[in-house]
């Protein structure tokens, strides 16, 4: 992750918020536009950041992960069920994490142990998550009439939360704070600890890592499972911070957008976080365009992040390259 890329992404966010200010209808005040852009952006970015960090750990170890969506969806259901059954939101979050880890373990078992194609394995998990949560939500939740246990309360930083416009930044729900904390933590772990070095070596050149005495299989399992736990927190966001209920397919493709954010950010935590914010800003503009009286069609704004991801992937503006061993199962001699 170069500083240039980070600056580019932040610039794009500024452009989107600035664009909203310039194009807003005169009836809507500038501070309302800024405040609601900011609040919506942060809200949308939380599951993306967590999903992207989950994918990052997985892919840095050399295991492609298109199953973030499935992991988050099943965790959203697990978190809802855990919280509704015990009436305890913290247990809900833990249940979400457990389900995330379970799905991740399946992914690791299929793609690391059985050496199934990693994209196929991800596809299996996505289809399975959609099927099982859909089935269980109708069978279990509706029959037993489980009611959600409510939402995690916002944690305010005194004084700062009362500031105009930027107030929402300092008044967020716990999972959003966790996402923010995990960005520097993941960065430190990946780039400044021996384990992180081992992880990256396994993702770049597993044979050399193996020769250096690193257990490739175990490292990949650990990375994928920690990723699953983070995706689990991301899933819990949907049912414990966004709405206090589970709906089939409620993650609505957010796991794939997280994957895009991961790539956009060049497989680095800071980059993935910035990209999540950018996608959040694009979404904020997308859903608020009408309310702000902005004459640009919302759907065209909505296309923007995906088109940019393709352009970046194709190397037109600043090429990104994935960990070298992503997609290749490791076969010990």
């Amino acid at each position: 992750m170069t500083r240039g890329r980070f600056a580019f992404i932040i610039g794009c966010i500024g452009l989107l918020i600035g664009g909203a200010e310039v194009l807003r209808s005169p009836d809507v005040s500038a501070s309302i536009v800024a405040a609601s852009m900011l609040a919506t952006m942060l809200r949308f970015a939380t599951p993306l950041t967590l999903g992207a960090l989950a994918g990052l750990l997985c892919e840095r170890s050399g295991v492609a992960n298109i199953a973030i969506e499935g992991m988050m969806l099943s965790a959203a259901f697990g978190a809802f069920l855990g919280a509704a059954a015990t009436k305890n939101l913290l247990i809900g979050v833990l249940a979400g994490m457990a389900v995330g880890v379970a799905m991740a373990t399946l992914h690791a078992w299929l793609s690391v142990t059985l050496r199934v194609d990693q994209i196929v394995s991800g596809t299996v998990i996505n289809i399975m998550a959609a099927g099982i949560t859909g089935f269980l939500s109708t069978e279990v939740v509706r029959r037993q009439a489980l009611v959600g246990a409510g939402l995690l309360p916002a944690l305010r930083i005194p004084v700062l939360a009362d500031l105009p416009v930027v107030g929402p930044v300092f008044q967020q729900q716990p999972i959003a704070w966790v996402a923010l904390l995990l960005v520097p933590i993941t960065h430190l772990v990946i780039f400044h600890t021996p384990w992180g070095l081992r992880l990256r070596s396994v993702g770049e050149l597993p044979r050399a890592a193996h020769a250096a005495g690193i257990n490739v299989i175990r490292t990949r399992y650990t990375a994928v499972m920690i990723g699953g736990a983070i995706a689990g927190i991301g899933g819990a966001y949907f049912t414990l911070e966004s709405v206090p209920a589970f709906e089939p397919l409620m993650t609505n493709g957010r796991g794939f957008i997280a994957l895009a954010a991961l790539i956009f950010g060049g497989w680095t935590p800071a980059g993935a976080w910035a990209a999540s914010l950018l996608f959040g800003a694009a979404n904020a503009l997308h859903i608020n365009a009408q309310q702000f009286g902005i004459p640009v069609p919302a759907q065209i704004v909505g296309m923007f992040p995906y088109l940019l991801t393709i352009v970046i992937l194709a190397g037109v503006i600043g090429r990104v390259s994935p960990p070298a061993a992503v997609g290749t199962p490791y076969e010990a001699d």
Partner: protein, 370 residues
């Protein structure tokens, strides 16, 4: 026949596990045999719902058509070493384009208008898929990611057009959809209730088989799929074949959309494409990327989906049980070690391995990472 053994066992095993789930979610009544009777009853309802009457059989066939088109689409991609996750988006743009030609052009005879509508759908899908193929071949941008992104771009494009210039402006319409296409843009019925797209899809399936296995172009495509480096060394234009594989894959998915417009819905509605992307991957994998396999698995998927309604009606078990069964089938197809372990089948024989490399997964996908 040995090629069909693992998929058949996977289906049987998935249905058995599905039976346990149905038993577990069913009512608890007296008698030890009630549970088994209940599961039998449920599966009987499933079969009756899919093939029990003329109407339900027609319904199953109607559902098979888009599954077969998109299954073939993903299969052609796989054979060329490309993993097409974008069938959903390609189907959407195909449907949009063909609906547009279908309702704006009104003065042509059917013999010209209908082919024009179908070809427009093919072209739109081919462009949508071809972009991903070209980007992969030229820049190494992984097609899995670009096709996922193109799905979203396609979805937003559809939302924009269906709420804008292509929207049905009649006062009765409240949803994002096009007006109905002209009579001359509709596939004539083969028998009442069943459009002639069925003939088309069978023809296309035969054509795909012929091109892949009986022409030089198909040989080169499969060669690129198995080993692009070797293919390049042998003088194959890899860039062109990769683009071609994704282009044809997109074309078939686009045609699926066009046939749904011309044969079933007579219009394009926002979101009708959702779900085909992953279902088509499952169908291609279950069919082991052979034309006959894809035909059988698309019939199976269509029958499960069609029969599910009756299963739910009779047993109160949610239709989502079908998705669970499908996921189990796919799991055991992807990791056939599971099936080999359960049924004590030895590992694949060397001859079979050569065949399996091209069926399990896109071999070329790992060569440049993403």
């Amino acid at each position: 026949m040995i090629g069909g053994l693992i998929p058949s066992l996977a289906i049987v095993t998935a249905l058995l596990i599905g039976g346990v789930i149905i038993w577990a979610s069913g009512p608890r009544l007296d008698g030890p045999w009630f549970g088994i009777w209940f599961v039998v009853e449920a599966y009987q309802a499933l079969v009756e719902g899919a093939f029990g009457s003329r109407a339900s059989t027609i319904d199953t066939v109607l559902r098979t058509v888009p599954y077969l088109f998109t299954g073939l689409a993903v299969m052609v991609g796989f054979r060329g070493g490309m993993f097409n996750i974008g069938a959903e988006g390609q189907l959407a743009v195909g449907a949009l384009a063909s609906a547009w030609v279908g309702f704006t052009v009104t003065s042509l005879p059917l013999i010209i208008h209908l082919p024009l509508v179908l070809l427009t759908g093919c072209l739109a899908g081919a462009i949508w898929g071809g972009i991903a193929g070209l980007l992969k071949a030229r820049t190494g941008a992984h097609e899995v990611i670009t096709t996922i992104m193109l799905n979203y771009v396609g979805g937003q494009l559809a939302a924009y057009l269906l709420n804008g210039v292509l929207r049905d402006r009649s006062p009765l319409n409240v949803i994002a959809q096009t007006p109905k296409v002209a009579e001359t843009a509709r596939l004539p019925d083969l028998i009442p209730g069943l459009h002639s797209g069925v003939i088309l899809v069978i023809g296309v399936a035969v054509l795909v088989w012929f091109v892949l296995w009986k022409t030089t172009m198909g040989f080169e495509l499969r060669m690129v799929g198995i080993n692009p480096d070797a293919a390049s060394y042998a003088g194959v234009n890899v860039v062109r074949r990769m683009t071609w594989a994704m282009g044809v894959s997109g074309l078939l998915a686009g045609l699926a959309g066009a046939v749904q417009v011309a044969g079933v819905n007579y219009r394009s509605t926002l979101g009708f494409n959702v779900g085909y992307g992953f279902d088509s991957i499952a169908i291609a994998l279950l069919g082991r990327n052979t034309v006959s396999g894809v035909v059988l698995s698309s019939i199976l998927f269509a029958a499960l989906r069609t029969g599910a309604t009756k299963l739910q009606f009779r047993t109160q078990i949610s239709t989502d049980i079908i998705s669970v069964i499908q996921a189990l089938v796919l799991l055991m197809i992807a990791a056939d070690q599971i099936i080999r372990w359960i049924y004590r089948i030895g590992p694949a024989q060397p001859e079979a391995v050569a065949d399996a490399t091209s069926t399990a997964a896109p071999v070329a996908s790992s060569e440049s990472g993403r």
